[in-house]
């Protein structure tokens, strides 16, 4: 007597294109359900959209700050070297530095040139004429190559400090460091908020799908009775979740776009005060597609959560 058969004596009723036909019917029904419950659907889209918009904005901010950091101040950090008064080896030191691979250029300002610049900029040249000697030192401005890292910068600064006739070395990278720090902070916040709000989006969708399941319990019971598989019972709700999530992703894209429109002018004004320009980037078709895809995936995750809870204990009779 067979106990656990692999094949039963009943035929499997399969039809050509049946699987696709089933998906098409479910997708159509899911769209119909969502359009019949407009208020709920709009609310879910808005909630999921807000949940996705904040981390997406932070990611976009991080992308633009990285670009800004790369272009800032001629593109790269620099080192100013101030020589001791009367030091005669400034030109020689400049030549040595120019030979280093990580150095792109060295601009030498002699004592006389420094005095001339000071006089020109301040108009206080007469105040210095009474002094016995020029009090302004010669200086070098060292600009680094694009591929020079922070370690190379520090190494060059250290070697210059140790050179004869050098009074002071100033590494001018404060703004760049700030921009990079803000960029890293934005990235970290993006991930943290992304995780938190992602969980929020999953829970919002799960709650909504749970209501949808409850409103269709009778239909699910009958479907189970007439031979629907677990996958068939789950499928409509996975579509709900995906549609709610995808709609939320679109709303998030609209919110981010709105934010960019509002922030663009004041941001460009701010950058203009530092002689910088920036074309805001990152908000493109790929970004919107990623938001919609992510929203869809989160929505489906919420639906899976709800379906597991509600369908596991479906009591038919």
């Amino acid at each position: 007597m067979p106990d656990s058969p692999k094949q039963g004596p009943w035929p499997r009723t399969s039809h050509r294109w049946g699987w696709w036909r089933g998906h098409w019917r479910v997708a159509r029904d899911a769209l119909s359900f969502i359009s019949r419950h407009t208020g709920t659907s709009l609310l879910v889209w808005l909630l999921v959209g807000i949940a996705l918009a904040l981390p997406a904005s932070l990611m976009l901010l991080q992308t633009n700050l990285s670009r800004l950091g790369a272009d800032w101040g001629g593109g790269r950090p620099s080192v100013s070297v101030y020589m001791e008064l009367g030091a005669l080896n400034a030109a020689e030191l400049a030549a040595q530095l120019e030979r280093r691979a990580e150095v792109q250029a060295v601009a030498l300002t002699s004592q006389d040139e420094a005095l001339a610049e000071f006089t020109a900029y301040t108009g206080l040249g007469d105040a210095l004429t009474g002094l016995e000697r020029n009090p302004l030192p010669a200086s070098l401005r060292v600009t680094f190559a694009a591929n020079a890292g922070a370690d190379a910068l520090e190494a060059v600064a250290a070697s210059v400090r140790a050179a004869e006739g050098v009074a002071d070395v100033v590494v001018e990278r404060t703004w760049l460091e700030r921009i990079n720090a803000i960029s890293r902070l934005a990235s970290a916040l993006g991930w943290v908020f992304g995780a938190l709000f992602g969980v929020g989006a999953v829970l919002v969708t799960a709650t909504t799908v749970r209501f949808a399941i409850d409103s269709q319990l009778d239909e699910l019971k009958v479907m189970k009775l007439v031979g629907a598989s677990e996958a068939q019972l789950r499928r409509p709700f996975l579509y709900f979740g995906a549609l709610y999530g995808a709609g939320g992703g679109l709303v998030a894209a609209m919110l981010v776009s709105l934010g960019l429109i509002i922030l663009e002018a004041p941001l460009l004004d701010l950058l203009g005060s530092f002689d910088q320009t920036l074309v805001l980037g990152g908000f493109d078709v790929a970004f919107v597609a990623a938001l919609v895809g992510l929203g869809s995936a989160l929505g489906m995750a919420g639906a899976v959560l709800a379906v597991r809870q509600r369908l596991a204990a479906l009591d038919v009779m």
Binding site: P9, S14, G18, V316, M317
Partner: protein, 219 residues
């Protein structure tokens, strides 16, 4: 497919209630059998076990030699698609039309819409409700709703038809009409099991009877 065997079947619920006790019975292929007994005798439990909505605590339920309580989750839907079931409360979907209610088993099995229409029309014609296919079931009388339930049960041409108190809310004349439908399906080869406590109806027909009392077979 059509021979059904209950072999030493026990069903005890978590509350401790024993719905079936050492039930052994055979329903031959192509037969129409009444399953009768008082309320709580175990009739509905038998049908639930046959539909694999629950598992026996002990014993085997064989359908054409296959122990259906051991079917995998993957095979179970195919098994159910080959059963038809009719219930006292009809289990119709209020928000769907008569047509959509009857079409449900065919759509679950991914049948083409053209074929769905053909088969549903045939089933509704058989139960005399073809002209009411677009109405919601709640606009029909109780007897008509029961006929919609029967049309849904037979639309996929099952080899086994199970009915749980199908005439429970109907007057004697309508009950006879419903039974005539079941007999018609039985005549074309379906194994039919009708759970009913309507003694007058059962005795008016010349079909085998299995009587249960407190979960045990007494006839």
């Amino acid at each position: 497919m059509g021979r059904i065997e209950f072999l030493n079947v026990y069903k005890r619920y978590p509350s401790g209630f024993e719905a079936l006790r050492d039930l052994s019975v055979v329903f031959e292929e192509g037969s129409m059998t009444f399953l009768t007994g008082h309320s709580g005798a175990g009739k509905t439990t038998c049908l639930k076990l046959l539909l694999c909505l629950d598992n026996p605590t002990h014993g085997q339920i064989l359908v054409n030699g296959v122990n259906v309580s051991r079917l995998s989750a993957r095979r179970l839907p195919h098994y159910r698609q080959n059963l038809g079931a009719v219930f006292q409360d009809h289990k119709l979907l209020a928000a769907r039309s008569v047509f959509d209610n009857v079409a449900l088993p065919l759509r679950v099995s991914h049948m083409r819409e053209r074929e769905v229409r053909r088969r549903v029309s045939a089933a509704l014609n058989r139960v005399g409700l073809l002209e009411r296919e677009s109405l919601p079931p709640m606009q029909l009388s109780t007897g008509e709703q029961q006929r919609v339930g029967i049309a849904r049960a037979v639309v996929s041409r099952p080899k086994i038809l199970l009915a749980d108190e199908p005439t429970g809310n109907l007057d004697p004349e309508l009950s006879q009409d419903i039974m005539a439908l079941f007999q018609g399906f039985n005549e074309v080869g379906a194994t039919v099991i009708v759970a009913s406590h309507d003694r007058a109806l059962i005795e008016s027909l010349d079909n085998p009877v299995v009587e249960l009392s407190h979960g045990m077979r007494v006839r």
